[in-house]
């Protein structure tokens, strides 16, 4: 029996020479064109299926939301769909659906994005709708009221639903405090209620314009024809009126503090233990990805092994890093039955200490490298994914080397460089911001040991305590 096992293990190590993958994954050739008004066009042909993916990114996002008006950028983005050009809200939705297309806007921390996918035969319509949304949105007052009210109610609905979705919003608000990275992207019930039609118009004039725009298109089209269509549609667009908001790096957190979000009757406690992490251009990204893979990035990670596989305390435990243009967050994220709250949190903290103390071994390093490289090609498999990747690189000011040299950087990582990255990025157990969501009456006393506790009821219309 052991023979089979050792054969399997040997095969696993033998057959996975990282060099094989590293060569295979490069970004296909693409065209980058900057229009005179500042709009950047990125075009990548891919002809396997008759589809075109588009990703139009307008830099700004939640960090540009005015004080007290969190969610404004996201609300505006979604309002662009509610009527544009000659079409009212219903006609616009109909135009997209009639050809089997998809076109949806969504807010994000440092940008809002319009993502679309159309059959290749409908490329002209795709460009027309996109140009209308960005340059000729109706921004109708009634539509805005409806959308705002619906957004508020959607947050209320989320509080009745799977609570895993809400935790990161409380987490960001508590970790970053008044820093713009603490702004809830979608807004809060309270901040959305304050947004007026005037605020939306002002935001559109100030922060939406050609100089903020990146359009990435990938898929089944002809580049020359697509450049002509996009240039004709976007060359004459105005620039944004206000300057872009410069985001400063958030301050590292030392010591411990706890936010307890009370949901009476919750069956589980959802927890998020975090500190300030790194930015998208972090130089040791390969080492960090290896560390995160081993610590909490896959099924056999240290966190999942301890909290799920070996103890059955949870359905899942993982590490989550958010890497915007300035240092974002690095967090441990899990949930457990109310009665095992402190057991699970203590265990997660123990695993963090173990990460710092023991680092990685040669075997685990090789395993993580194989895992990352083996999972990389599907990340660039479809037109939609390629469009998203191109726009991301452009937005973050990153070179194609970010993709093309990644395999080599993963292969080159050593036990020492990974260990250095762990101590650089992962917080010590003494420096953690705790966000716990659960039935406060059941856990309040037990969790006081983690640090000073701030409490907020889930029914409160905000995420910041």
């Amino acid at each position: 029996m052991n023979v089979v096992r050792s054969q399997l293990a040997a095969l696993a190590l033998l057959c996975c020479s990282p060099a094989i993958f590293a060569q295979a994954v490069t970004l296909p050739d693409f065209e980058r064109i900057e229009l005179d008004n500042g709009t950047v066009l990125l075009l990548l042909e891919k002809h396997d299926v008759p589809l075109i993916g588009v990703e139009a990114v307008v830099r700004g996002g939640a960090v540009s939301d005015p004080e007290g008006l969190s969610g404004l950028s996201s609300l505006l983005a979604r309002l662009l769909e509610k009527g544009a050009g000659d079409r009212d809200s219903a006609a616009f939705a109909e135009a997209v659906a009639a050809v089997g297309g998809r076109l949806a806007a969504a807010g994000d921390l440092e940008a809002f994005t319009i993502s679309g996918e159309f059959m290749s035969r409908d490329s002209a319509l795709m460009v027309e709708l996109l140009a209308d949304m960005l340059q000729r949105p109706a921004l109708d007052s009634d539509e805005m009221d409806k959308l705002r009210d619906r957004s508020i109610n959607s947050i209320r609905a989320a509080k009745d639903s799977d609570l895993r979705a809400l935790l990161p919003m409380y987490g960001a608000a508590f970790l970053f405090g008044e820093h713009p990275y603490g702004n809830p992207v979608f807004g809060s019930e309270e901040s959305l209620a304050r947004i007026s039609h005037q605020d939306v118009l002002a935001y559109y004039a100030d922060h939406v314009g050609a100089d903020r725009l990146i359009i990435a298109v990938a898929g089944d089209f002809d580049t020359v024809a697509m450049v002509a269509q996009l240039s004709a549609a976007f060359s004459d667009w105005r620039q944004a009126e206000a300057g872009s908001a410069a985001v400063l790096p958030p301050a590292e957190q030392s010591g411990r503090r706890v936010l307890l979000v009370d949901k009476p009757g919750a069956a589980q406690t959802y927890f998020w233990l975090a500190n300030i992490g790194v930015a998208a251009d972090y130089p040791a990204r390969a080492e960090l990805d290896i560390a995160t893979t081993l610590f909490g990035g896959r099924f056999t990670s240290m966190l999942n092994t301890a909290l799920r596989v070996e103890s059955g305390l949870t359905y899942g435990a993982r590490a989550v890093l958010i890497e915007p243009s300035q240092p974002g967050s690095v967090a441990i994220y899990s949930f457990t039955n109310t009665e095992s709250t402190t057991e699970a949190i203590d265990m997660a903290i123990g695993v963090l200490q173990q990460l710092h103390a023991a680092g990685v071994t040669g075997e685990s390093l090789q395993s993580a490298k194989n895992y990352i490289l083996g999972h990389f090609p599907p990340e660039l498999e479809t037109a939609g994914k390629l469009a998203r990747e191109l726009s991301f690189l452009e937005r973050m000011g990153l070179d194609v080397a970010y993709i093309n040299d990644y395999g080599a950087a993963i292969s080159a990582a050593t036990i020492e460089t990974v260990a250095m990255t762990i101590s650089d990025v992962y917080p010590l157990a003494d420096n953690l911001v705790f966000v716990l969501l659960g039935d406060a009456a059941q856990i309040r006393d037990d969790i006081a040991k983690y640090g000073p506790v701030t409490e907020i009821a889930i029914s409160e219309p905000r995420f910041r305590p």
Binding site: M1, R5, L8, A9, L11, A12, C15, C16, F21, A24, D48, V49, L51, E81, S89, A90, A93, V96, A97, A98, V99, G100, E117, M119, K146, D149, R150, N153, R156, A157, D160, S161, D162, L163, R164, P264, A266, Q268, R298, F299, T300, T305, R308, V309, G312, L313, Y315, F335, N337, Q366, N370, Y371, L373, G374, H375, P377, P378, E381, T382, S459
Partner: protein, 553 residues
């Protein structure tokens, strides 16, 4: 001495030598071809036994008889002068030499020279798809043990997807073991008699792959995503857990805890899932679709090791599985690996069929959950058909027209115009047995569920009375077609689509008939489907909301 000389004269010694060499050659031949010819493992031993028995017989024959120009005669009857034993001896010498050379060549060339290749059947090529519209590079093969394998090569990225579909879902359960199909899905990642707990995932991930699985009401699917370099090891891992699964008591207990956590976050802390579970339990009174896939809590707490052993024996047989490979592979290499690792898994008795047919519903059913909730939920479910029924595709398109996206009828009316709901969506899970067409709506705080229910029913009646427009049908057809292409844009999507059609629609080839089938649907098909399904007597209504405020005496 005289006896020895006579033995030589009568060629008995040469016959002995020839017999030995010929036997050796015959054994080589049997050894090289037995497996390919599907001969049982004892064939070689049996041949050896026959040859051993034959040896003395041959010697006695050679001693007793002599070949003469006049035929075979008893040696004692042959005149010494007439004897041609010398000539016979020379022929025997030549035969010995030829056989010896053949034997030496066979030994030297074993594995190098195609000595017996003409007798060995090659790796099976598999069958191309029967449907002309299907990509002709697809191959399928059913092994002798009943395991069907479908391969769709796609060399776009150096990765492979392997889905193993098992024909076992919550429809195969009964009270006491609800959730067992899903629990079993978890146990398949634990230990085998060759691998310790956790080793499956460690080997998988160290090879650059990852695995997951999903259980539905009809099937359980094991999904593996990996770089091409890990192909052999993944096939070995799948084969290992199919034949060597080891159900250990500690792991069962630990995994029970994981599932309780999964249930609490996915169902108990989620109002939508709580209501969904109870609507199914109400809409079905006989058929096992009434059981939640994750299981009722009391059953999760109570499953025993014996339940699991019994379940494995019943459902996890090669003849109850279909494997789909998509990505950077060739059918030849997959079928070769299958012969090596999967063909030896023994077939089992097919599992018992699901006998129960849900009786016709004859009046509205209602279920209410009163719980802390800011936003009331309204679910409406109607009994409909199976995946293979011809009404299923029209009904799917109709559901898209009613509740698919921002341009759908119910969204326009209830979300945009009346603002009576925050969201409205629809879904139709058409499986092996008749499923439900399902609408789910979230209302704003204080929303009136009764009036929203009535508004939905009016819209459904409008479809029965007036049908849909040609433009609406064209829209739904285009959306369906675009989704079809989206599904085929990734190797993962291809594996899913092939498996879904093979398991639920009768054959994987049906997938490729979809574009034409979608085009062929008429406005009248939609209206007919609506008239059959959207009847009040066929409806189950679920409402979740906060309890009404207590009123004083």
């Amino acid at each position: 001495m005289a006896v020895f000389a006579e033995l030589r004269r009568r060629n008995v010694l040469k016959v002995a030598l020839l017999y030995a060499i010929a036997s050796w050659l015959l054994l080589l031949l049997v050894g090289a071809t037995a497996e390919a010819l599907g001969l049982p493992v004892w064939t070689e031993t049996f041949v050896l036994l026959l040859l051993t028995i034959g040896f003395p017989v041959a010697l006695i024959f050679a001693w007793t008889y002599e070949i003469t120009p006049g035929g075979l005669k008893k040696a004692i009857d042959v005149e010494q002068t007439q004897s041609i034993v010398y000539k016979t001896g020379q022929k025997l010498n030549a035969a010995v030499a030829v056989l010896l050379v053949l034997g030496v060549l066979a030994v030297l060339g074993q594995g190098l020279l195609p000595t017996f290749e003409f007798l060995v059947p090659g790796i099976p090529e598999g069958d191309p798809p029967a449907a002309p519209e299907a990509p002709q590079e697809i191959r399928s093969l059913t092994l002798d043990n009943g395991l069907k394998i479908i391969v769709w090569p796609d060399h776009d990225i150096p990765n492979v997807v392997l889905y193993n579909y098992v024909r076992a879902g919550s429809r195969n359960e009964y009270p006491g073991i609800t959730g067992l199909a899903h629990f079993f899905e978890h146990m398949m990642f634990q230990s085998t008699s060759t691998l310790e707990p956790g080793e499956f995932d460690r080997i998988m991930e160290a090879a650059g792959g990852s695995a997951n699985a999903g259980t539905s009401k009809d099937i359980t699917v094991y999904q593996n995503w990996f770089p091409k370099s890990a192909l052999e090891i993944i096939v070995k891992l799948e084969a290992d857990r199919l034949q060597n699964l080891f159900l250990d008591a500690d792991t069962i207990e630990s995994e029970r805890g994981v599932i309780i956590s999964e249930r609490r976050s996915g169902v108990d802390d989620d109002n939508f899932s709580r209501l969904f579970e109870q609507v199914y339990a109400t809409a079905y009174i006989a058929h096992p679709y009434q059981y939640p896939i994750i299981g009722w809590p009391s059953d999760i707490e109570a499953w025993t090791e014996a339940d699991l052993v019994n379940y494995f024996g019943t459902y996890y047989a090669p003849n109850n599985c279909t494997m789909v490979f998509t990505g950077d592979v060739t059918p030849e290499e997959i079928f070769e690996l299958a012969e090596e690792y999967l063909a030896g898994i023994p077939a089992q008795e097919p599992p018992p069929p699901v006998r129960t047919v849900e009786p016709r519903q004859e009046g509205v059913r209602r279920i209410t959950i009163e719980t802390a909730a800011q936003t009331p939920l309204l679910h409406l479910a109607f009994h409909a058909g199976r995946a293979i029924d011809k009404e299923t595709l029209p009904l799917t398109l109709l559901l898209d027209i009613l509740a698919g996206g921002d341009s759908s009828r119910l969204h326009r009316l209830l979300v945009e115009e009346q603002q009576a709901v925050i969201s409205v969506d629809g879904w139709y899970e058409a499986g092996l047995d008749p499923g439900l067409v399902y609408f789910y709506l979230t209302l704003p705080p204080g929303g009136e569920v009764a009036s929203v229910e009535e508004a939905v029913l009016v819209e459904l009646q409008r479809v029965i009375d007036d049908g849909v427009t040609a433009a609406e049908l064209a829209k739904a057809q285009n959306r369906r077609l675009a989704n079809y292409w989206r599904g085929l844009a990734t190797i993962n999507g291809k594996a899913e689509a092939l498996g879904d059609h093979e398991l639920l629609h009768g054959s994987y080839e049906k997938l490729f008939e979809q574009p034409a089938a979608v085009e062929a649907i008429s406005v009248e098909d939609l209206r007919n489907a609506a008239a059959v399904v959207f009847q009040r007597s066929n409806m189950t209504v679920g409402v979740l909301q906060a309890p009404a405020a207590e009123t004083g005496p």
